[in-house]
Amino acid sequence: MTTSTDRAGSRRGTAAPGTGQQVLRHRMKPGRWARELGWRHVVGVLAVLYAVFPIVYVVSASLSPTGTLTGSNELFAQVSGVNYAELGDTKFWTWMGNTLVIGVATAVGTVLMGAAAAYAFSRFRFAGRRLGLTSLLIIQMFPQMLAFVAIFLLLISLGEVVPALGLNSKLALICVYLGGALGVNTFLMYGFFNTVPRELDEAAKIDGASHAQVYWTIILRLVTPILAVVALLSFISTFGEFIIARVVLQSESNWTLAVGLYGWVSSLLEANWGLFAAGAVLSAIPVLALFLFLQKYIVGGLTAGSVKG
């Protein structure tokens, strides 16, 4: 019991990371470097090539003033910023703003509600716990193909009562997304919460902490990495979702990026690939920025652990 408390304690105090790694890196001999790290770079480069190659294609299309997305294999044959400049004439930046608002709100809501539920499932034993967990998992599996019909009707009736929750409202869309806040995310966090030793909160409770105190001050701090992962996942899935969004958000100035971008290419005859590609490239930036920002939390636990190990 004491060991795990200590370990967790030292995790929390992410005192001075980095110094240990620095020393290790300099001391390593070439042979050992190749064996332990070098091959990882090889794998990394290959994986990055696989991941990035199709995207290079999109970047090339976004820089081409005339080209189509699939018609040309000459990458970067023409380079011009025309498409990017043209984005200014569209509602692209409005959509970007909408997407950020909706994405961030959904991510925050998902993390708060999902973590709370995961805590309850992980720490309390109550009637219907297993059934609840299984139902959560199952309900998410309903084929969403037809969901738009029901969601549309639901929002019409809600909108008659509270317009802000009705059609064409960003708030309504956030609510719909938050309907999925439990489920997969709860599971992700539930598994992670379970790895935090139960002895920790028991000790705290013996010391007089309330359940809310244990949750907010102990557990949540220890599970920061998974909170960051869930926030990122939620943000990304909101970012790419367009089937429900285009049913809910009817006026163009309320659209999200995915809805708007899809509109540019949904009609193949009038597809605006150049504009679309430029938009797609720019729209990937917030996701990457968020990932870079959250990365230190995602790997935060690792650094702390490795210092000790």
């Binding site: 005339t66 189509t68 997305l69 699939t70 018609g71 009817q250 006026s251 009038e270």
Partner: protein
């Protein structure tokens, strides 16, 4: 402690409620006051448009707003989504008052009772007859047409100075030009593209459905039989020779033609913007069979929702404002499709390319708007593609299987 909780929350609730309670009714009444003061709040029209037509409709709407004091709200939708969304939303009372749409949606729209007839009155005579005919069902007109679109042969005059008379002429001229492709016609991979290939099929005398005397279709397949088999055989031969290929997608065809890799491409006015740098001519599609090659004509127009609460405004706007030469010309300039109004079409025909498309369209046939057409498309294209690619060894057999499969789907 207990009591204090209840007390506190009750207090907070009441406070919040009074805030809401006092705020809400006054908000309502002020809205009412606004409504009676401003005539524009009397009526407002919601119009669904797609991106290309948005600017043009907005211009017409502004003119209407200025004259009538009515708010017109333009909602931009993806053209592909409009059909299903209109069907789903109109019965709920949501939906728009007016939407743009294609004439071949008509059968489905009337079967579901989501569109209301439009009485064009004497204005009907101002439109090119085929455009009004396309929106007519059972003697009632259901849409205000604004554009007619059809494909034709687009020719790069530098590579081929003369219009080909027959299909073989075209292939020969294409080969003589020494370009990468003798001519270009798009296909959507193994899903095929029966719309673009249709003129070839009609030249063999195998239209898709039987036509009534008034030009409307009845759900009896006509694409089978000897004529259909002859077309299938021809498709197989041309596929073997490499003149037709299912790998040439729309993108590839447009890109290749723009780069001067072929003197001919079969396509519509929507392609022209990509060919701005070329010297072009638009000719009739050369027939491989012994009958004229007739492409499909598609008519685009505006529908009025059957559940519109502003039917009066909607009809007024369409019949008296969207049918003017100015409005139709603006739509033409936005979308590039030749206008349906004769006067606007005449003006647009000063451009020889537009005139070329219009001339081909004059001898074309309207795309069937009967709901049964939906069952045809998916079998039709795939079969054509499998014959062209050589996947189906026996074109005639594949064609006949297609005919019986469609009959099975029609029930």
């Amino acid at each position: 402690m207990r009591r204090s909780i209840l007390l506190a929350s009750a207090l907070a609730t009441t406070l919040a409620l009074t805030a809401c309670g006092s705020g809400e009714p006054s908000g309502d009444s002020s809205a009412d006051a606004d409504a009676s003061a401003k005539p524009s709040a009397l009526g407002s029209l919601t119009v669904w448009v797609d991106e290309t037509r948005e600017a043009a409709v907005t211009t017409a709407a502004e003119a209407y707003e200025a004259e009538s004091g009515v708010d017109v709200e333009i909602v931009q939708k993806n053209f592909e989504d409009i059909r299903a969304d209109f069907l789903a939303q109109v019965p709920t009372g949501e939906g728009p008052d007016i939407t743009v749409g294609a004439h071949d949606w008509l059968g489905e729209f009337t079967a579901n009772g989501v569109v209301a007839p439009i009485e064009l009155g004497d204005k009907a005579g101002d439109f090119i007859p085929v455009s009004v005919q396309a929106f007519t069902q059972d003697g009632q007109v259901y849409g205000l047409p604004y554009a007619i679109e059809n494909i034709a042969l687009i020719r790069n005059t530098e590579l081929a100075p003369e219009a080909p008379k027959t299909y073989d002429d075209m292939v020969a001229a294409g080969k003589k030009a020494g370009t990468k492709f003798p001519f270009l016609i798009q296909s959507d991979g193994d899903k095929g593209d029966p719309y673009t290939y249709y003129p070839f099929q009609t030249s063999f005398g195998a239209p898709v459905f039987e036509q009534n005397d008034d030009g409307s279709y009845r759900p009896e397949l006509a694409l089978g039989g000897e004529n259909g088999e002859a077309f299938a055989t021809w498709l197989g031969e041309q596929g073997d020779e490499g003149n037709l290929s299912i790998d040439i997608s729309y993108d590839i065809a447009v890109e290749a033609f723009a780069k001067g890799q072929s003197p001919f491409v079969i396509g519509g006015p929507w392609m022209l913007e990509q060919f701005k740098d070329l010297d072009l001519a638009v000719d009739p599609i050369p027939a491989p069979g012994d009958q004229p090659a007739q492409p499909f004509v598609g008519v685009q127009g505006f529908y009025v929702s059957a559940q519109s609460k502003n039917a009066l405004l909607a009809n007024d706007f369409l019949v008296n404002y969207m049918s003017t030469p100015e409005a139709q010309t603006a739509l033409f300039e936005a979308g590039g499709r030749p206008p349906a109004l004769v006067e606007a079409a005449d003006a647009a025909s000063e451009d020889p390319l537009v005139a070329g498309f219009r001339e081909v369209g004059a001898s074309a046939v309207p795309m069937p708007s009967i709901p049964e057409m939906g069952s045809v498309w998916s079998f039709w294209g795939v079969t054509e593609a499998s014959i062209i690619s050589g996947k189906a060894d026996d074109p005639v057999k594949a064609w006949n299987k297609m005919v019986s499969d469609i009959e099975g789907a029609l029930g």
